[in-house]
Amino acid sequence: MSYSISFVLLLLAAASVAGFFGALLGVGGGIFIVPAMVLLFHLPMKIAVAASIVSVIATSNAGGSSYVEQRISNLRLAMFLELFTTTGALVGAILAIYLHDWAISMIFAAMLAYMAYASFSTRNLDDERIAKGLFSKAKADSVARYLTLEGSYHDLAADKEVHYVVCGAPAGITIASLAGIASGLLGVGGGVLKVSAMNRYMNVPMKVAVGTSKLMIGVTAAVSSILFFMAGLIHFMVVAPVAIGTTVGATIGTMLMNRLHSRVLKWIFSALMAYLAYAMLAQALAEGFGIHLPAST
């Protein structure tokens, strides 16, 4: 198979769009570029996953953790959860190597369907919790206490120092492991899962959760990338345009993110996720079982 200029340029363009929307919607480019590679470019799922996860490493730096964000992030919490995300990533990558392409596509479709549904249930309760000082009133569990996972940061919006006590380590660990498996198996960053684990179950304020998640994504992605690299699944002419495209797209998307975030975007996001979930399921059924769903390409 030789690659034409048009293939490379189209892939570059698709990756830029994927990276752009990923940054805009705060989900990372992997969620859009993997379906794009499989559905538009008819690349095998494993090749798409491997290419995507390498580009996730690139975009984890591209958004740019500003210095402010870095001070807000909880380094120790990131390191602690990385134990589980990296283990999960290794498991996920092994599964990705041994499962059939259509099986991985189906799991990807299920993830998209879940995200389409879940995007409506993320409510920002942080403002109230910060005002009432609820983050500091929680009781640390034994793991959090042993590893001094607590922290504090200065919230510009509320204009106060917010101290928080981390708890719920078992739930956080479970979800972090799942996020790692998803990352390794599906070629996505898994940031959405990690942020929800920290914010909803571990009593971590949203801004800290987002910043801390960004610290983790590159390391998690590196683990599965290593395995894909050694298994020869990183196909050069796919990885290169995808990596460049998502980096450029994500950088631009991050710059615009603060100005454009709105309810309309959430609706578009859910609709897009639902459509992609259906399309990926259709592709998996066609490839694995020869079943053709209605209105599928």
Binding site: R76, S152, A222, A231
Partner: protein, 133 residues
Amino acid sequence: MSEPSNRGASPMAEEQNVYAGVYHMLIAGMIVSNVLFAIGIVLALIHPQFFPLSASWVSEQYRAKLVFHGLIHGQPTSYFLLGTLLLILTPVARVIVSIYAFWVDHDLKYVAVTGTVFIIMIITVILGAFGIR
């Protein structure tokens, strides 16, 4: 030897400096690998080549001499390979630097935590080298 109790997300000054350095290193790694990818794409399009889509062919390209030779002679595969390796190594380097930063901070619990993450990475390399394919 008592440590300040409120550690959490506020590292000591030396750690912050280490992290500033690491951050710049990560960005530099990302830029260099993207440049290598771009060079590779341009080379591949100028002289279109046949790239088999098989894992065994890709794995066969992992030879230092081949890569070095390829870089000098404008072989796109070598540039792609180097770019990919660099990209993968930047988070690995970050973990190593974190271990050092915690060590400097006398935070042995986190030296152990971060060290374990590094060991997981090593295990991944070993598994890849010896059979998972």
